[in-house]
């Protein structure tokens, strides 16, 4: 186990230059080297937030305090997950002409996509913090604990990306099914509604959804003002590790078979 990790690390060092160049490529392609391109990726979640907050506060009469922040926390997490897994899913097929001609580690392409999504998430997070400040929530040193769910999410997204990209190589209709799946996931993750009105039992069921756990963690820190218990911590890391483990096993097993379907 330690041996394989060691060889992986030397592998990553060896391909550091390639990795940097891939990140640059994905980043440039994403924003098309325009200021507006970069701005757009920030404006788009904000617009979504604006629409949702108007709809739910004015039409559905949602009037709990800090509802915008509640909504934003959910949206932020969900967008990060969707952006990074969709990018990850496409990463192998988009680079199929390279993978079939040059012997390179395939996960590099997925990781570089994830870096681009992470940068995007980071920028949105800054805006989120500005909203938090404007909404009159005081910053507290426990906000540093936000790093924990974010780190777990990065691992979780990479793991899901592994699984999805492998599936996408073999089943080309996965991208449509995944669109439907993410839409369902959005409604199941309590992004714009509260779960308190449900019974204790149903509230427990929500914890089966990894995304809900990450959203819940962030809301606990920012809105509820306490660090969640050990159970939430275990779940956060557990989901991440399981996703990464399953994903890496699939890659290990099918590494040389992907080629047949490209």
């Amino acid at each position: 186990m330690i041996e394989t990790i060691k060889t992986q690390i030397t592998n990553i060092k060896k391909h550091k230059f390639l990795f940097e160049e891939l990140v640059k490529r994905d980043f440039k392609k994403k924003y098309k080297r325009t200021i507006l391109g970069m701005l757009w990726s920030l404006i788009s979640p904000l617009m979504q937030l604006l629409v949702m907050s108007i709809v739910f506060t004015h039409f559905f009469g949602q009037n709990k305090p800090h509802y915008t922040i509640y909504l934003f926390a959910g949206n932020l997490t969900y967008s990060f997950f969707k952006d990074s897994t969709t990018g990850g899913m496409n990463s192998l097929m988009q680079n199929s002409n390279i993978i079939t001609k040059i012997n390179l580690p395939k996960y590099m392409f997925l990781l570089s996509k994830n870096v681009a999504s992470l940068i995007n998430f980071g920028l949105t997070l800054i805006i989120f913090m500005i909203f938090v400040a404007v909404d009159g929530i005081a910053f507290h040193f426990r906000f540093l604990m936000l790093l924990y769910p974010i780190l777990c999410m990065i691992i979780f997204n990479i793991g899901c990306g592994f699984i999805l990209s492998a599936l996408f190589v073999i089943f080309k209709d996965i991208q449509y099914l995944y669109d439907i799946f993410t839409l369902m996931l959005m409604y199941l993750s309590a992004i714009f509604y509260y779960t308190d009105s449900y019974s204790e039992r149903v509230q427990q069921i929500f914890y089966l959804n990894p995304l809900y756990v990450y959203i819940k963690y962030i809301r606990c820190i920012v809105l509820d003002g306490y660090i969640p218990g050990i159970k939430t911590h275990v779940l956060c890391l557990g989901y991440a590790v399981i996703a990464l483990l399953v994903g890496s096993l699939i890659y290990k097993k099918y590494n040389y078979k992907f080629l047949y379907y490209m």
Binding site: L18, E20, N103
Partner: protein
């Protein structure tokens, strides 16, 4: 010392509608029990070895399994059955145009492609100017790659690739590219690398080239190994085979 050894190597592809079918269809077919997977043997039972400093030429018609065999040696694919050993650092130039991105500039593409070939950043910083000079693209560095002519693209591709310095070199129809003048220049450059002592595998449709350069020849046809050994003898047989085939 044997640099490359292949022992009874076969490679099967999975074919059929499978790769075009989606998850939904596969599930339905699995339930119905009509799900089948066909295999196609692209390379079957090939055995050969290449000694240090030798140049192996591979000949054969289109679809003979040459490129698949090179993919196996390059480590992109695994043999389905049989064993293989490759000893030493390996550079394989299967398709020079691989990895370029139309949206990026010539300069960005040069670094990206260099990284894919395993060069270091320091090496690329040092040699970047000479790559551009060799490709004769001095006025085009900041152009989008997709705006270059196809001749310019292949010149750039060759200029980056020819800086490799491996123990084992694998070439798939890439010995010379571009127009008249550049063709001469590029062939000379490749010969320089080969003569530098690299063990080389060369796939070429030019029998002349193979005759001139190869120390051994492997002849494949429809995935099967027809002959392996002496250049002169096999080239004559292959030439004979081509003559009878056209009639």
């Amino acid at each position: 010392m044997k640099k490359i050894e292949l022992n009874d190597v076969s490679v099967s592809y999975i074919v059929g509608d499978f790769s075009n079918v989606g998850l939904k269809d596969v599930i339905i077919q699995k339930i119905k029990g009509t799900y089948t997977q066909k295999e196609f043997e692209a390379v079957s039972h090939v055995t050969f070895s290449v000694d240090e400093g030798e140049l192996l030429g591979i000949v054969g018609a289109n679809g003979a399994g040459k490129s698949t065999l090179l993919k196996v040696i390059s480590g992109i694919m695994r043999p389905t059955t049989g064993t293989m050993a490759v000893r030493g650092s390996l550079a394989s130039l299967l398709e020079l145009g691989t990895g370029f991105d139309g949206d990026l500039t010539v300069k960005e593409n040069t670094f990206l492609r260099g990284a894919m070939l395993g060069y270091t950043r320091e090496f690329m910083n040092d040699t970047y100017q000479s790559i551009i000079d060799f490709a004769e693209l001095n006025d085009f560095e900041d152009r989008k790659f997709s705006h270059l002519s196809s001749g310019m693209k292949s010149r750039l591709a060759f200029s980056i690739a020819c800086l490799v310095n491996p123990e084992i070199l694998i070439l798939d129809e890439v010995l010379s590219v571009g127009d008249g003048a550049f063709r001469k220049k590029s062939e000379g450059k490749m010969l320089e690398i080969i003569k530098g002592g690299a063990t080389t595998i060369l796939v070429s449709h030019s029998l002349d080239q193979i005759k001139r350069m190869a120390t051994k020849v492997l002849w494949l046809d429809k995935g099967k190994q027809i002959a392996f050994g002496d250049t002169q003898e096999i080239c004559e047989r292959y030439a004979e085979f081509l003559r009878t085939k056209t009639i």
